[in-house]
Subunit: 328 residues, 2 copies
Amino acid sequence: MEKIRVAIVGYGNIGRGVELSIERNEDMELKAVFTRRPPKSVSIYSKNVPVLLVDDMLQMKEEIDVVILCGGSATDLPIMGPEVLKNFHTVDSFDTHARIPEYFASMDEVGKQSGKIGIISVGWDPGMFSLNRLYAESILTDGDTYTFWGKGVSQGHSDAIRRISGVKNAIQYTVPIEQAVEEVRSGKRPELTARQKHLRECYVVAKEGANLEQIESEIKNMPAYFADYDTTVTFISEEELQKEHHKMPHGGFVIRSGETGRTGNKHVIEYSLKLESNPEFTASVLVCYARAAYRMAKNGECGAKTVLDIAPSLLSLKTPEQLRKELL
Amino acid sequence: MEKIRVAIVGYGNIGRGVELSIERNEDMELKAVFTRRPPKSVSIYSKNVPVLLVDDMLQMKEEIDVVILCGGSATDLPIMGPEVLKNFHTVDSFDTHARIPEYFASMDEVGKQSGKIGIISVGWDPGMFSLNRLYAESILTDGDTYTFWGKGVSQGHSDAIRRISGVKNAIQYTVPIEQAVEEVRSGKRPELTARQKHLRECYVVAKEGANLEQIESEIKNMPAYFADYDTTVTFISEEELQKEHHKMPHGGFVIRSGETGRTGNKHVIEYSLKLESNPEFTASVLVCYARAAYRMAKNGECGAKTVLDIAPSLLSLKTPEQLRKELL
């Protein structure tokens, strides 16, 4: 089997996840990991795969089919995406929802000039959740879609707590409120406030001598992040944090409740994820979209694409005949 | 807005559902209902829409963009599909799983000759369930996929009971066994027999003087249909059957449980449907794929397609820009 030759740019949690996911996809091969750190300081799982400086990517242009961009959305991808797309097909997990149209436009312009394809915003939200919102609202045109996240770690909220004076370390779990989920699942179409949908559970390691009451109050009243939610704050030791809260679970639900016909028959479509490792799952989604990028590129397509633009069969290692026989 | 002009062939439960779904899709217009019955005997919801004989379809060739085929899979579609595809783009819900490859081949040949597109096997299983199997197994390459159906009416099993001597009427519900669903949902990957996955609940109206014990025994021991399941048989009156069992609810679950990484992090992807009206939901899926057929045809595509081949954005009334802004 001719293998799809993949490179990773950025070796954090997602990059590591991509490396491990490639191991489980027999039609793929990891050719290189690119980093901005000193390559010798980066230790990867794979033997015989070079770790190189991002600046040296072009030297491997002929040996790479698709580059999976594993940088952050805030500052890395907006610069790195268009830059890499000048020479390589790319897949990334750009997830700053509000800036997706802008990022799409910049990737689309570059890709159309370079003749390369860039699949953006791949993962589960944006990603699989977006797909499920689209399918569900296209079928049940009269309905409401609800998204619940969690229980899972929100990196953004954890970071916000860590910036508070007196806080040494912290982790925040977003927790969907079961009663709200059940109400939506039952076919009702309630209007729910932020507070009615999610709880925020914070585990905080305070610095010695810090004012715990003040930390708790600062967290609970922080606008945008916590003020609109019921928030619990639990102070724990650094040891407990490392021991009990080192995993990165996540998940959530997309539920559409709607009706059909003149008598208003009710229907509920639900998609849910329970993930023990958020980055490894996201990475697995990236890897199957790398297969799609490779195939679409072979087919002459270029410019920016999202999961919404991509025929599902392009993701699978199976042939169209196998898919029809086994899955339909 | 220029509307997509749709025709329905076959006016049973699905055909009626399609008619009602078109009412909820503002970019669509029902142009005609075609039937093999005497047109005057068919009463449809829509005013000012003609009911015509199937034999007269060609007369409306210039006025129809997509034909939704609402015949049965056993005998109607294998003949009707290729016949209509000679002159019209089509969408159908062919659901005899084992014969899909054969039906695809016959539709593909005709469509490629006529330059028409035929989207086959649209609905929820085959259809949305197939899509979810594909997405889930492409992401979690190491995993197992489980499908549970119900609680819902199985037409095939109900018919099988009705053929037993002494039975006047009957309805059969397929019921997923909650314990098995929970086991799968928990991330275990059990091997489950047919009996461990589903119960079969039968409500039977016996003819006067019939031997109830014998009917019950014939049902429970019927090979393929009931012998491999735990089956309950409840005798009721025709009135009760009409009153309590006239709806056509259905639904089910596709669950994939798998792992990623070297430490084997577990993930569970679940897609579920709870449908008050099986035919109206199926019809709503057909209608949004009629939109995709229209767009793919405009794009010059032809031959047979399935839901697995179709980019999700083609289903939506929204523009790609709107979709990226609202759903990603």
